[in-house]
C-alpha cells in the first residue's frame, strides 16, 4: 500500500497503517488534537494518547484501544486533522478502529447505544434505500430498550409535518440490499 511502511507484522499498528495509509510515527505528540477535540472531556483515552499507544505498541495495547469509549465518541469533526502540524488523519484511524473493535467484539459497554443507533440507521437504509426516520427511531428503541426516550417529541414533530409514517423508498429496494450484501460477502464478515 504505502511505500514508507516497512514492517508488515500482524499487529494492530500495522493494520491501521495498511488500511488507512496514515503513518503513525509522523505524530510527535504536540497534543493539538486533544486540545481542540470537542469531546476530550468525555473521553477515556485522549486522541494523542491513542496515537502514542499505537506508536509504542505497549503490551496489551490493542485491547486498551479497541475497547475504549473514545473511539466511539469521536464525531469525525476533523478539528484534530485540520490543526495537526503533521497532518495525521486521525478520523480515518478512528473509523478503522471502530470497525476493528466490532470485528473483534471489543466494543466498550458504554458505547453500545451509539453502535445500536448506527446499526439501526444502516438497517433502515438497507431496507428502503433511504433513511426512514420513524423506522430508525423505533428500531433504535427496540435495540437499546430506551423505549421512552424522546417520546414527547413525536406528537409535536408529527404536527409540524416532520414525520412521515411510511418510508420513502428507492424504485428497487433489492438493488440497495444487493450492494450491502456484495460488500458483506467481499469482507467475509458476519453482520
Amino acid at each position: 500500500m504505502h511505500e514508507s511502511i516497512h514492517h508488515h507484522a500482524d499487529t494492530l499498528k500495522s493494520h491501521v497503517e495498511d488500511a488507512t495509509g496514515v503513518i503513525l510515527s509522523h505524530c510527535y505528540q504536540c497534543g493539538k488534537c486533544t486540545a481542540g477535540c470537542p469531546l476530550n472531556e468525555e473521553m477515556d483515552l485522549m486522541p494523542n494518547q491513542i496515537l502514542r499507544i499505537l506508536q509504542a505498541e505497549m503490551p496489551g495495547y490493542e485491547d486498551k484501544i479497541l475497547s475504549s469509549l473514545s473511539i466511539w465518541l469521536c464525531l469525525a469533526c476533523d478539528t484534530c486533522y485540520s490543526r495537526c502540524p503533521q497532518e495525521v488523519l486521525l478520523s480515518k484511524v478512528m473509523d478503522y478502529l471502530r470497525q476493528e473493535s466490532i470485528r473483534q467484539n471489543k466494543v466498550n459497554p458504554k458505547a453500545k447505544d451509539i453502535l445500536k443507533f448506527h446499526r439501526a440507521f444502516l438497517n433502515s437504509v438497507k431496507m428502503n434505500g433511504k433513511l426512514h426516520e420513524v423506522g430508525l427511531t423505533i428500531d433504535y428503541k427496540l435495540r437499546s430498550l430506551n423505549l421512552m426516550q424522546d417520546v414527547m417529541l413525536a406528537p409535536s414533530m408529527a404536527a409540524k409535518g416532520k414525520l412521515s409514517i411510511f418510508p420513502h423508498q428507492v424504485q428497487n429496494t433489492k438493488e440497495i440490499a444487493k450492494i450491502f450484501k456484495k460488500i458483506t460477502d467481499s469482507e467475509g464478515e458476519k453482520q
Binding site: 464525531l75 469533526c77 470497525q99 409540524k160 440497495i176 450492494i179 460488500i183
Partner: protein, 290 residues
C-alpha cells in the same frame, strides 16, 4: 445549464422546510433544479463509522446516477450529504483501485467528475446574479452564521475558503440585510449524530454554541445543515437544562433567511415548523425603501 439536485433523507423528512425554502428561493429567481432520479441515502455518519466500503458505495451510486442523467453539476444542501459525497468523489478520483472496487459493488460506471455545490455555493453562483431585484425586505438583525464541521473540514473537501473563519454564509446574510456577527463558534461541532444516542453530549456542545451567539448579541443563528438545525432547535429544552438558562434565539436555515428578504411568506418557508419560535426574526424585518 441544467442543475442537478440531491435532497438527501433529512430534507424529505425532519428538515422539509429546508427543502421547501430552497425551492421557493430558486423558483422566485426562475431557476429550476432537477432531482437526481432514484437517488439513495449517502450513509451519513453511520456508514463511515461501521463500514468503509459502504461509506463509499452509497454516495457513489448517487454520483453514478447523476452522471447517467447527464448532470454535470449537483446541489447538495445537507452538510452531511455534501461531506459524504465530496469525500467519496475525492477518494475515487485519487485511488483507482478503490474506484474499480466500488464500481463492482454498485454495478455502475463512474467518472466522478460531477461538480458538487453546497447551498451557499449554489446561492452565490445562480441566485446572487439575479437576486437584487427580488430583495424587498431588510432582515435588520444581528445574525450568527454557524457552519459546523462538515463544510469546513477536512481541508481536502472544504467548501469554504478560510476553514477557521469561513465567510460564505455571512455574505448571503449581508445580502439579506442582516448584520453577520463575528463570533467564536462558527465551526465548532454541535454533537452531530450523537443526538439520539448521547443527547447529553449534544446538549453540552450545542449549548456552548447557543451561549456564545447570545453573549455576542445575536438575534438569530443561521445554519445550512439539517443535523445542526435539529441539535440547536429541537434539542433546546435539553440545552436550556444544561445551560441552566433560557436562551430563545431562533435557528434559521440560510434559505429561509434569504427567502424572508425576498418577501416569501414565512409559512411557505416553513418557519412554523421550528421548535424555537421565529416571530422575532420576522418582526425585526423592515421594508426596503424604493
Amino acid at each position: 445549464m441544467r442543475i442537478g439536485y440531491y435532497p438527501g433523507c433529512s430534507l424529505e423528512g425532519s428538515s422539509k422546510e429546508y427543502n421547501d425554502s430552497l425551492f421557493a428561493v430558486a423558483e422566485k429567481c426562475g431557476i429550476t433544479l432537477e432531482v437526481i432520479k432514484d437517488w439513495s441515502c449517502c450513509g451519513a455518519s453511520a456508514a463511515h463509522n461501521l463500514n468503509h466500503n459502504l461509506a463509499l458505495a452509497l454516495p457513489a451510486r448517487t454520483l453514478a446516477l447523476a452522471e447517467k442523467q447527464g448532470l454535470e453539476e449537483i446541489v447538495v444542501p445537507c452538510a452531511a450529504c455534501y461531506s459524504r459525497i465530496a469525500s467519496t468523489k475525492h477518494e475515487i478520483t485519487n485511488n483507482i483501485a478503490a474506484k474499480t472496487k466500488i464500481e463492482g459493488f454498485i454495478e455502475l460506471k463512474l467518472s466522478a467528475n460531477v461538480k458538487i455545490l453546497t447551498v451557499f455555493g449554489f446561492l452565490q453562483k445562480y441566485i446572487f446574479p439575479v437576486v437584487d431585484g427580488h430583495i424587498v425586505n431588510k432582515l435588520n438583525q444581528k445574525a450568527a452564521c454557524y457552519y459546523g464541521c462538515l463544510y469546513s473540514r477536512p481541508k481536502e473537501i472544504a467548501a469554504v475558503e478560510q476553514i477557521e473563519n469561513p465567510m460564505e454564509m455571512d455574505e448571503v446574510l449581508a445580502k439579506a440585510g442582516a448584520t453577520p456577527i463575528d463570533w467564536a463558534f462558527k465551526t465548532e461541532c454541535c454533537g452531530a449524530g450523537l443526538s439520539v444516542s448521547r443527547t447529553d453530549i449534544v446538549a453540552k456542545l450545542s449549548g456552548e454554541i447557543i451561549e456564545d451567539a447570545a453573549d455576542r448579541g445575536a438575534e438569530s443563528i443561521v445554519v445550512a445543515c439539517p443535523m445542526c438545525h435539529m441539535n440547536l432547535d429541537m434539542r433546546r429544552p435539553e440545552i436550556k437544562k444544561t445551560l441552566k438558562k433560557d436562551i430563545n434565539i431562533p435557528v434559521l436555515f440560510i434559505t429561509q433567511a434569504l427567502g424572508l428578504s425576498m418577501g416569501i411568506p414565512a409559512n411557505k418557508l416553513g418557519l412554523n415548523k421550528h421548535y424555537v419560535p421565529t416571530d422575532k426574526v420576522v418582526n425585526c424585518m423592515v421594508k426596503m425603501e424604493a
